[in-house]
Symmetry: C2
Subunit: 343 residues, 2 copies
C-alpha cells in the first residue's frame, strides 16, 4: 500500500500543474495537510460589549489575533509563503479570482509551497472589538470617540486599484477581469486599521507565525506592504525573504534604521500604469529610494516593474489579473534563486 | 497516465478516512476542486463611508453578500453540505478544532461530501457597512442610531456554550477541549445580526446557493438554526434536507405555516446537559413541538438528543467536541438513509 501511495504521489506531483487557460480543468489537488489557527491576540475586559438584553455588557473578549488558513502540499519542496492582503480586503484576495480562475493560494501549493493565508487583525475572521461603538450608543462616551472605520466605495477604489485613471475609465490593455467586477466588489469589507495602534497588531502576529514556521517568505500587498518590514525590524526570526506587492509604503530611508534588512532577500514588485497614478507614483519613488539605501547598507533588495520583465497591463490587484499565474510562475523563479529550499 | 490516475484515486478514496485519534496522521487529502465565491449582495450608495481624508465619504459598496468556501472530493458520492455557523462565530467553526484536530469541513470531504462553508452576511469575510457609525461620528445622526453590534464575553458565553452551568464551572464528562479554550475564544467575532432585517440576508443567499448547487443539505448551528427553515419557506428549490445542530429557534408551530417542510428530511440535533440550561431547555421544548407538528402536517422531521444515541458529555459546540468525528460518522449514516445520493 505504501508503495502504491509513493507511486501515486509522484504521479500527482508530475501532473499537478494546471494549464493557465481559464477553461482547462486542473488535475486533482493533493494535500498532506490543511487547517486553520490563530496567532497573536490579547484578552480585553469591557463594560460595553453589548447594548442588547440577551448579551451581557460586561466580560472578556480576545482581540488583535490573526486568523491563518494553511495548505501543505504532499511534496513541500519550497519555503512556506505567508500571503497578507491589503486595505479593505481579506484573505479572499488570494483565492479564486473574481472571474473564477485559480487563486495564488492554490497555485503556489501546486508549485510545492506550503501556503498560509491570513486575515489581518480586526478584519474578516480576525475579531475586532465593538466596545467603543457601544460606549457611544449607551451614552458613556461622545460620538467623537467612535473608531474611524471606513469602507472604500468603488468609484474611489477604481483609481486606487488602477483599473483606469478615474471611474469608470479603463487603462488600455487592462488585465484585470473587469467583466467580473461585481464579484470583486463583494470582496471588499470595512477597514478598522486606522483605529489600531502602529505597528498594526498584525505585525507581532506575523513574527509569531514566521518563527512558528521556522522560516517563511512574507508576501504583502498594498496596505500591508509595510508590515513585513516592521516585522523584520521587530525580530528577524523566521523571516527568509520579503515580497512586497505594490506596497503602500516602504521603510523611509531618511527616518528608519536599515540594519534589520541586511542580507535579507527583498522584492518590491509593481504593476503597470504606476507613473500615471497620483497615488502610486510617489509610493514607487519612495520604494526606489528605500531599495537603493537598503542595498547601500548591505541589503539584497530589488525593485521591479512588471512591464520591465514583459508583463503589461497589470492593475494593483495583480494576483487576480488575467495573467496572474504567469506572474506567479515568474515569482516562483525569483524565489528559487533568492530563497533556495533548505535541505 | 489516465489509468494510473484512476488507480490512484481509488487507492486514495479507500485509505482517505483518518483515524479519530488526535495524534494519528491522516493520509493525504485529494480534492477535485476547491475555491471560494459569493452569493447574494446588493449595492448601496452612501455619503458616510469614511471620516478619513484618504478615503472618500461618498460611494457605492456591496453588502449583504455571503462568502462561500468550497472543497469537492475526487469522488463526490454524497449530497453537498452547506455548513452555516452560529452567533459570534464565523466559518472557522467547522475548521481545525481549538485543540488541533480535523474539522468537519475536511472530514466530510473525506467522506465524499462536497462541502460549502459560509460566513454569514456582515460577518467574517462577508462585508458589513460602516455608514451608520460614520453618520454618528460626523454628526449627521444621533448616537441612538448606532447599530446594536455586540460581542459575547467568555463569562456569559460559557453557559450559552454549555461548558458548565456558569463560568468557570464545568459539567461532569465535558467533551469540549477546554484545555484549548484560549484558541476557541479567538474564534469569536462581533455580531451584527441584530442590526439586520428579518430574515437575515443570509437566508436568500442560502437559497441562491442551494439552487446553484442543484441540491444541498443545509447544516445550521445555533443562531443560524432558523435560517434553513426560513430558506425553505422562501423557496424549496435545491434544498434536499435540513440538519439543525442546537438551533436557537425552530419554526413556531403556533404561528408558522408548516407546508414548506412537507416531505423534507429534517434532523434537529442537541447535545448533552440541555435540560440543565435555562437558555436551552425552552428552545428544545419549542423544537419538539415543531417536529411533532411538522410530522402531523406530512413532514419527515426527527429530534435527537445525543445521549439518546450513546454520545455523552457534548457541549453546544458539538462539532468541536472531542468526539466530534464520531458524531460526524453518525450524521453520515443519517444522511445516507434520509438523503440518498442521486444517480
Amino acid at each position: 500500500m505504501l508503495r502504491v501511495f509513493a507511486l501515486c504521489l509522484a504521479a500527482f506531483a508530475a501532473a499537478s500543474l494546471p494549464g493557465h487557460a481559464a477553461d482547462a480543468p486542473s488535475p486533482p489537488l493533493t494535500l498532506s495537510e490543511q487547517g486553520s489557527f490563530f496567532v497573536g491576540g490579547r484578552d480585553v475586559s469591557s463594560e460595553t460589549l453589548s447594548t442588547l438584553p440577551a448579551y451581557a455588557p460586561s466580560g472578556t473578549v480576545t482581540v488583535d489575533q490573526v486568523y491563518v488558513h494553511y495548505q501543505i502540499p504532499v511534496s513541500p519542496v519550497r519555503t512556506p509563503l505567508v500571503l497578507i492582503h491589503g486595505c479593505c480586503l481579506t484573505g479572499k484576495t488570494w483565492e479564486t479570482t473574481p472571474d473564477g480562475r485559480m487563486g495564488w493560494d492554490e497555485y503556489f501549493v501546486r508549485r510545492g509551497f506550503p501556503t498560509y493565508v491570513i486575515d489581518q487583525s480586526w478584519r474578516g475572521r480576525s475579531a475586532g472589538n465593538p466596545s467603543a461603538i457601544n460606549a457611544v450608543k449607551s451614552g458613556k462616551a461622545g460620538a467623537d470617540t467612535l473608531p474611524p472605520v471606513f469602507s472604500a466605495g468603488r468609484e474611489a477604489a477604481w483609481a486606487i486599484f488602477r483599473f483606469g485613471p478615474e471611474y469608470p475609465k479603463v487603462f488600455p490593455g487592462m488585465q484585470f477581469p473587469l467583466e467580473a467586477q461585481a464579484e470583486f466588489w463583494k470582496q471588499m469589507v470595512p477597514d478598522w486599521s486606522a483605529a489600531l495602534p502602529v505597528p498594526n497588531p498584525t505585525v507581532p502576529a506575523l513574527s509569531e507565525l514566521a518563527k512558528r514556521l521556522k522560516g517563511a517568505v512574507l508576501v504583502s500587498h498594498s496596505q500591508s506592504g509595510i508590515y513585513p518590514f516592521q516585522t523584520a525590524a521587530l525580530d528577524r526570526g523566521g523571516i527568509r525573504a520579503i515580497v512586497a506587492l505594490e506596497p503602500a509604503a516602504c521603510p523611509d530611508p531618511a527616518k528608519e534604521d536599515l540594519a534589520p534588512y541586511k542580507d535579507l532577500p527583498i522584492l518590491v514588485l509593481f504593476g503597470d500604469y504606476v507613473d500615471q497614478s497620483p497615488r502610486w507614483a510617489p509610493r514607487l519613488k519612495l520604494c526606489r529610494a528605500f531599495v537603493a539605501a537598503a542595498n547601500a547598507a548591505g541589503g539584497r533588495a530589488e525593485l521591479i516593474l512588471l512591464p520591465e520583465i514583459g508583463f503589461h497591463g497589470n492593475s494593483h490587484m495583480l494576483m487576480q489579473d488575467k495573467n496572474s499565474l504567469d506572474i506567479a510562475d515568474w515569482l516562483t523563479g525569483w524565489l528559487d534563486k533568492r530563497v533556495p529550499a533548505k535541505d
